[in-house]
């Protein structure tokens, strides 16, 4: 028998809770459709579509791209780059964050170096990225990775500081090993921080992949956007951007889904 906190006696302070069951999807779709219609109308009456294109043109373009197979090629390229970068950043960043939080002296020593590295604009490091990682998939993954890595490190470090001291003391009192504490207390406690990092990371991973593609590539959504821009093809630019937006939205749904799976106790 498993309990959830939802009940027929829903509490007024959590008015939203009940509606978790009723899907928010219809509303969201309606809102997006509404915005698209607004955009379409604006492009007729308010501005020259050269600047912002027009949903109907974009839809047409996406359809062409889909038929030619280019859409999938570009999308899957960017998705691989951003996805791999994001996951890799999580896998590396969370342990580093935990390690630094548990070794505060080391953390304080490394603090300025970490922040310094973080503050580096990756775009300017493009040559080094090309030198180190070539111009293939890997250099874009690394670009995504370095954009997102620090998010995980910094969020996890701050998250660990907020952990209830009593829970840690209790573990200490029972002589729990380092890994047991990490697994039983630290990781579950920072789940919200990790989830927030993923949410933040999605956008940055995409930006990283796009920046990587700007620096040197021949495929991917970033490349497509840049190349369209070079031909003053606004519809192409916005088609690429729309696909990027859709990717970000889908990733967010996935994260929300994971959150509901993982955080059942809240």
């Amino acid at each position: 028998m498993v309990f959830t906190r939802t009940n027929d006696a829903s509490e007024p302070t959590k008015a939203g809770r009940g509606s978790r069951i009723s899907s928010p999807l219809p509303g969201q779709v309606a809102l997006i459709l509404f915005l698209l219609v607004l955009w379409e109308l604006a492009s007729y009456y308010l501005y020259n579509p050269f600047w912002g294109s027009r949903p109907s043109l974009i839809a047409q373009r996406l359809w062409q791209l889909a038929i030619s197979g280019d859409l999938w090629m570009h999308t899957s390229t960017t998705l691989q780059e951003a996805g791999a970068g994001l996951l890799f950043a999580a896998v590396v960043g969370v342990p580093i964050g935990i390690g630094l939080a548990r070794a505060p002296r080391l953390a304080r020593l490394l603090d300025p170096v970490i922040m310094g590295l973080y503050g580096l604009p990756r775009v300017a490091l493009a040559p080094l990225f090309i030198l180190w990682f070539g111009i293939g998939l890997f250099s874009k993954i690394m670009m995504s990775f370095t954009m997102v890595l620090f998010i995980f490190i910094l969020n996890v470090m701050e998250g660990i500081r907020t952990i209830d001291k009593d829970q840690l003391d209790l573990m200490t009192s029972m002589r729990a090993g380092r890994f047991y504490v990490v697994w039983t207390v630290l990781l579950p406690a920072i789940v919200p921080w990790i989830l927030a990092s993923f949410r933040i990371g999605v956008g940055l991973a995409l930006i990283g992949a796009v920046v990587g593609e700007l620096i040197g590539s021949n495929r991917g959504l970033g490349w497509y956007v840049e190349s369209s821009g070079g031909q003053l093809d606004t519809t192409g630019v916005f088609s690429g951007l729309i696909v990027l937006m859709v990717l970000a939205m889908l990733a967010n749904y996935l994260i929300g889904f994971m959150e509901r799976k993982i955080v059942r106790w809240r």
Binding site: N7, E11, P12
Partner: protein, 277 residues
């Protein structure tokens, strides 16, 4: 030494004690049902049909087994929980959100860790609508009354468990509710402090004839403080008994303990609680 009548009511009969002091009815529960839904769509019935009233100036203690639903009832009275059935009213108005004048002291202290002792008490003062210029003086008085002198500026994580509870009590008193819901307010206190705090509570209550619903595990404490003691059964909670405590006030707990009437009442409650449910 003390005159006492022990009135035992049938479980099914609604408590009539509330109407006797001829006071206005402050809180009313009628056929209250509270259940929590389980993911397998089965239901955990916590409260199944409780009815009781609390009148102006009445001090009602509630005792019952752990997990029987005492805290849940207070939450429902305060509008923090919508019951699945029945009727909850405060001052005649059905409760949907927290009613004015109702103060709730949680079982957990729920102190704000980023506020000092004085700061946490101030929350009550600020929300109780006390004029700002009186805050300092009032907080100072409460700190003294709660024996927290010297710790005004301490952070909650620098306090012992009992001190935290007293801060929480201080916040409630600063809020100056006319209907006080108290969930084991003295649970983390030693006897001496408990008695001192009980005395202070009684003096506040007697001076202003507030209504109090007081959940406790300590039967003697219940009898020593309250006008009525309501005994809950184990989950699903029903009212097993509703005793009127007619001991004269002011009461002296140590002295009362040797009073056979006092002992008889506590024994009776004890026996009620020991019933298999």
């Amino acid at each position: 030494m003390a005159v006492m009548t022990t009135e035992k009511r049938a479980v099914s009969a609604p408590a009539k004690a509330g109407s006797e002091p001829a006071g206005r009815v402050r809180a009313e529960l009628r056929d209250l049902q509270i259940s929590f839904r389980l993911p397998d769509m089965s239901t955990l019935d916590v409260i199944s049909g409780i009815s009781m009233t609390v009148s102006e100036g009445e001090f009602v203690a509630v005792v019952g087994p752990s997990g029987s639903g005492k805290s849940t009832i207070l939450r429902a009275l305060c509008g923090l929980l919508k019951p699945s059935g029945g009727h909850v009213a405060v001052d005649g108005v059905p409760v949907s959100s927290p009613p004015p004048g109702v103060g709730f002291m949680f079982q957990k202290d729920a102190l704000l860790p980023w506020r000092t002792v004085a700061g946490n008490i101030r929350v009550g003062a600020e929300l109780g609508g006390m004029p700002a210029e009186e805050h300092e003086e009032r907080i100072g008085r409460l700190v003294k009354l709660l024996r927290l002198d010297g710790f005004e500026n301490a952070w909650p994580n620098q306090l012992s468990g009992g001190m935290r509870q007293r801060v929480s009590l201080g916040r409630l008193l600063a809020y100056q509710p006319s209907l006080m819901l108290m969930d084991e307010p003295f649970g983390a206190l030693d006897y001496q402090t408990k008695i001192a705090m009980g005395k202070e509570l009684l003096s506040v209550w007697e001076a202003e004839r507030r209504a109090i619903i007081f959940v406790t595990h300590d039967i003697e404490e219940a009898v020593a403080l309250a006008d009525r003691v309501v005994v809950f059964s184990a989950r699903p909670a029903r009212i097993v008994a509703d005793y009127k405590v007619d001991l004269p006030r002011p009461r002296h707990m140590r002295a009362m303990r040797s009073d056979p009437a006092f002992t008889m009442l506590t024994e009776a409650i004890w026996a009620d609680l020991a019933l298999p449910s």
